[in-house]
Every structure is written in structure tokens, then in C-alpha cells.
């Protein structure tokens, strides 16, 4: 790699013009001619990797947060375990998992899910705990059962905090999923890894920019979803 940098003997990366051979910052022609065979599939794979990880993480973390909401003792152990998972460097975690689950999508997903748990759990639990006590008290006094209070009062009121957690988790996973290319040849990490080998700038920048754009788009979409689901949050004294 250092040799490549010192003496730029650049291959033409599957047929490029002068821009590619000179390895300029960004070669639009090359990008557009490889959109269909490289970037579009990578983007879709990235979206799938992220979506699956966030959905599974959401299901696990939310269920655990509901348990912790009813039984407070459960919070400590869950935060400890998910906290440890959260602090393991992603490359190390992939490396740890490969001997067990191999170079598979499963390995990538296990690692990605494990990074969502703490974030989503914390946010769901905080959201549930921040439900005003008087609303809960009134609900109980009117004869709602514990499950009805959860479904009709607590979860709807926790929704802004829950979506906030989902936003952080989603953006985190989109970023981390690029590292999954260490294990599997999928997602936007794959072109980035390839470009790292060859130090071909266009491929590197294109994949990176697409990951950033995906993160921004997903985040924006979640904001819109939250707004649609919580019209009351915008209500203020007239």
C-alpha cells in the first residue's frame, strides 16, 4: 500500500478514462458506469443489513425494557451486559464471532444487533418512566388495567423517546455496517474495503458518501414518522 502511494501505478479499474488513471478525487463517469453493478446492490444490501439489525435489536431491547419497567431489578443486569457489548470494538467483536458463526451474514447481524441494544433499551425505559405520574394515576383511578395503561397511555407517551432511540441506533448501525465487509462481501463496506486495498479515491468516496446519505435519509424518515405518530407533541398553548 505504501508502495502504491509512493509510486502511483494505478490500474485502470475496469476501464476508465484519464480521471481514473490519474486517481483524481472523484470520477463521475466511473461512478455512474459502476452504479448498476457495484453501488446500487451495495446500497440495497446495506439497507437490508441495517434494517434487519435495527428491527431485531428493537424487538429484543423493547421487550427487555418492558420487563425492566415492571420489574426494576432487571435494568441493572441488562445494562451491564448490553453495555459490555456496546464497548467492544466492532472489529474485535467480528473477530470474536467468526470462529463461532463463520464468515456469514449471521455474524454481521449479531454484532450489529448487539450495538443497538443499549441505546434502544435506555430510550424506551426512559420514555416509559417519564410518563407523567398524574396521567398514570388518573388512568388507574378510571379503571384501566395495567396492560391497558401500558398500551393506551405509557407506550404512546413514550413514543418520542422510543423514536429518538431508534434514530441513534439506525445511524450507528448504518455506520458500523460498513465494517461488516470485514466478514462478508456485502453492503457499502465492500467497495470501501476494495478501495482501501487499491487506494482508488472515487470508489472510496462514493461508498462513503452513500453511507452518509443513507444515514441522513433514514434519520429524516424516522423524524417524519415520529411527527405523524405524535401530533400531540407539537401542540402548545394557543
Amino acid at each position: 500500500m505504501t508502495a502504491a502511494q509512493a509510486a502511483p501505478v494505478i490500474p485502470d479499474f475496469g476501464g476508465g478514462g484519464g480521471c481514473v488513471r490519474a486517481n483524481r478525487t472523484f470520477c463521475w463517469d466511473w461512478f455512474s458506469s459502476h452504479w448498476g453493478d457495484t453501488f446500487e446492490p451495495a446500497l440495497v444490501q446495506h439497507l437490508l443489513l441495517t434494517g434487519v439489525a435495527v428491527m431485531i435489536g428493537f424487538a429484543i431491547a423493547t421487550s427487555c425494557a418492558l420487563v425492566a419497567h415492571r420489574r426494576g431489578w432487571f435494568e441493572g443486569p441488562f445494562v451491564t451486559v448490553s453495555g459490555i457489548l456496546y464497548t467492544i470494538p466492532s472489529l474485535a467483536l467480528f473477530q470474536l464471532l467468526v470462529p463461532i458463526t463463520g464468515l456469514t451474514v449471521l455474524t454481521a447481524e449479531i454484532a450489529l444487533v448487539s450495538y443497538t441494544l443499549l441505546i434502544i433499551f435506555r430510550n424506551v425505559l426512559t420514555g416509559l418512566r417519564e410518563v407523567p405520574e398524574d396521567a398514570r394515576e388518573a388512568a388507574r383511578g378510571m379503571g384501566l388495567t395495567a396492560n391497558q395503561i401500558l398500551a393506551r397511555v405509557e407506550l404512546p407517551l413514550a413514543l418520542p423517546a422510543i423514536v429518538a432511540g431508534l434514530r441513534i441506533a439506525t445511524v450507528t448501525v448504518i455506520s458500523l455496517a460498513t465494517v461488516a465487509a470485514f466478514v462478508i462481501d456485502r453492503g457499502l463496506g465492500a467497495p470501501i474495503f476494495a478501495a482501501l486495498q487499491t487506494s482508488f479515491k472515487t470508489e472510496f468516496i462514493a461508498a462513503g458518501a452513500l453511507a452518509v446519505a443513507l444515514a441522513l435519509a433514514a434519520d429524516g424518515l424516522l423524524v417524519l414518522v415520529a411527527r405523524a405518530l405524535t401530533p400531540w407533541a407539537a401542540a402548545r398553548a394557543a
Binding site: 398524574d134 383511578g141 379503571g143 397511555v153 404512546p156 400531540w232 401542540a235
Partner: protein
């Protein structure tokens, strides 16, 4: 002792609580009996409520009042079983609250708290529809009921039904809280310092409006407050609880002011209890002296003037007698300082109607 205000005999509790027929002013009211109710909390030597026995007639407003630590909220919350009874029993129209399923019991009892507890994510209409929805009413019926109640509590159905609580003032929120508690036309309402968080003007207005509503609806109400003036204003009968959850006196406001049971009650109602009594009576309650020759410029007052205000007026006029006039300004008599003093020295006449009822 009490005038019976409910025209109908009380329904059975299963009927009155289970069946949530609704029409404003249907007049379903329940009779509540506290039978030697005691509440002990674990790891506390003193009970919070000690052997409390009292009966609230159907359609009455019973105010539980006392300093903090008197167990008044605890006593109230045992009625809808938000707090479990340790010993004794509470019966609604003869049925023990302990024999009923707690959530079913609560759906049949209106519940209003100081912080209101509106659901911020629901509109006014949805908040009011909470219990009707639990009872399985259809959407159009719930909407009609919400509209009717919003109007009843003095809000604008066209504008306010689809607002969120955050868009309302404190007074408006408590109006919605009241409407929500009345949604399924419960025969009994529990109100825990409902006007305690409001400014004095809004509080007085809501008190007046609630009394007006109550005259039309005749629900049984258990009302908790720490404010003796509010207790006197709102209560048909007042239960004064002393620290340790002991009932110090249970009587009509006038009787408590005229003859406090002990020093504690006398201190609690205040040294101005004579004046407070005067605010319970109007000039119409007095034996007036015949109106003399019309002295031009003499101070006048209408028959509906509270004695406290009449006295203040007379003192302000250097003690001159007031000419009492009917609503049509026709003089009907004269009141002097001595007339009022005589009224105060009388023992509390049992069952005399309160002002404005």
C-alpha cells in the same frame, strides 16, 4: 337531619356501577357507608386512618378535610380501592367494595385529581371518551357524550373537542378533568383537591359551577381538601380528620361552625368561625323587622345577600341599619346589627338549607 335530594331510591350497586346509562341529570346517586375503616401501612406503628365510620347520603357532597397527615386522601382512595382497606368495610349502596373487581369498580366511579392527569397524547374528546371506550360504547355515542359534557362544563364543543391538553389553560384542563370523570354518568365521584392548583379567581368560578352542576346531577361526591373555606362552601356535610386519621367531627358546615366538637375542630375552623357561619346564611334566612318609612339614601341590600356581606356593609356605613329589598327593589324589611348577632347566637338549626341550594 338531611333533606333527601335524590328523588329516586338508590339503585343496587351492581346496577348503578355496572350499568353506565348516560343522560345528563339522570340523577343516579349512590349511598356510601364507611364502616369502621382502618388503614395500616406496613412498618408503621400508627394507622393512617383509624376506625373511620360515616355515612354519605345519596346525592350529597361529603367533604373530607383536615391538616396533612389526617388520612383524608387515604380514606378517599380506599373507596375505589386504589388503596386496600386493612380492616372494616366501605359499602356503596350496600355492596362492599371489597366484593367487586377493582377495575370494574373504578369504571363506575368518577375520579378527579388535583393535577388533573389528562392524557397529553389524546384530544379533549378522546380524554373524555376514556371510560366509555372501556365500557364498549360505540364511536358516535362517545362523540355525542363528549360534545354534551364539554358544553356542560363550559367549554366550546366546536373549538375545544379536538384540542390537546397542552393547548388548554389550567382551568380549562380541570373542566375537562371533570367532564372525563362524569363521562359514564357514575353514581359516585371522588374528587381529590380538584381545584387546589388553580388561581383563586378560577378556583371560585369552578367551585360555583361545580355546585350548579351538582344541583342538576345529584351525584354523590366525596371531596378532599385541606382548605376549610372550600369545605364550608362545597360540603353538605364535612368530616374533619385529625392527624392519625381520627374523625374529629362529621356534621353540616353550619353545625361545625356553630358548635365545634372540640378544641382541635375549633382551631381548625378558625377564630373567625362566626363570620364564616354568616357567609352560609343570607338576609332571606332572617326574621326582618318591618320596613319603616322609606328613608331616602339609606343603604339597601337584596334578600340573597350573604349575612357576612350585609354585616360588612353595615359596619362600613357606621352601623346604620340596612333596608332589605326584594329582587324587584321593593323594600321587604330592615336589618340591624343586633338582628345578625341574634342569628349567630342561635344554635345551628338542623337541616336548614345552605345558601344557594
Amino acid at each position: 337531619m338531611r333533606r333527601v335530594r335524590s328523588g329516586r331510591p338508590p339503585a343496587t350497586v351492581t346496577e348503578s356501577i355496572g350499568n353506565a346509562s348516560a343522560a345528563v341529570g339522570a340523577g343516579r346517586a349512590a349511598e356510601i357507608v364507611f364502616d369502621a375503616v382502618t388503614k395500616r401501612y406496613p412498618r408503621r406503628t400508627e394507622p393512617a386512618v383509624r376506625s373511620l365510620s360515616l355515612a354519605v347520603g345519596a346525592g350529597e357532597i361529603c367533604v373530607l378535610v383536615g391538616p396533612s397527615g389526617g388520612g383524608k386522601t387515604t380514606a378517599m382512595r380506599m373507596v375505589n380501592r386504589l388503596i386496600d382497606i386493612t380492616e372494616g368495610d366501605i359499602r356503596i349502596d350496600g355492596t362492599s367494595v371489597r366484593s367487586l373487581d377493582a377495575t370494574r369498580l373504578r369504571r363506575g366511579i368518577g375520579y378527579v385529581i388535583q393535577q388533573v392527569g389528562l392524557f397529553p397524547h389524546m384530544t379533549v374528546a378522546q380524554n373524555i371518551g376514556t371510560v366509555p371506550r372501556l365500557l364498549g360504547w360505540g364511536r358516535p355515542r362517545i362523540r355525542d357524550r363528549a360534545r354534551e359534557l364539554v358544553e356542560l362544563v363550559g367549554l366550546d364543543p366546536g373549538q375545544d373537542l379536538d384540542r390537546y391538553p397542552a393547548e388548554l389553560s389550567g382551568g380549562q384542563r380541570q373542566r375537562v378533568g371533570l367532564a372525563r370523570a362524569m363521562a359514564a354518568d357514575p353514581p359516585l365521584m371522588l374528587m381529590d383537591e380538584p381545584f387546589g392548583a388553580l388561581d383563586p379567581i378560577t378556583r371560585a368560578r369552578l367551585q360555583d359551577e361545580f355546585l350548579r352542576l351538582h344541583r342538576a346531577m345529584r351525584k354523590t361526591v366525596i371531596f378532599v381538601t385541606h382548605d376549610i373555606d372550600e369545605a364550608i362552601k362545597m360540603g353538605d356535610r364535612i368530616a374533619i380528620l385529625r392527624p392519625g386519621g381520627i374523625l374529629a367531627q362529621y356534621a353540616a358546615p353550619d353545625e361545625i361552625l356553630a358548635s365545634p366538637a372540640d378544641d382541635f375542630v375549633a382551631r381548625f375552623v378558625g377564630a373567625d368561625r362566626g363570620l364564616k357561619r354568616l357567609s352560609l346564611m343570607t338576609l332571606a334566612d332572617l326574621q326582618l323587622e318591618p320596613a319603616g318609612a322609606d328613608a331616602p339614601g339609606a343603604p339597601t341590600a337584596t334578600l340573597s345577600t350573604p349575612l357576612r356581606d350585609a354585616l360588612s356593609e353595615m359596619l362600613g356605613q357606621g352601623g346604620r341599619p340596612l333596608t332589605v329589598v326584594a329582587e324587584d327593589r321593593r323594600p321587604v324589611g330592615v336589618v340591624r346589627l343586633e338582628t345578625i348577632a341574634r342569628a349567630l347566637s342561635r344554635q345551628a338549626p338542623a337541616g336548614r338549607p345552605k345558601r344557594g341550594r
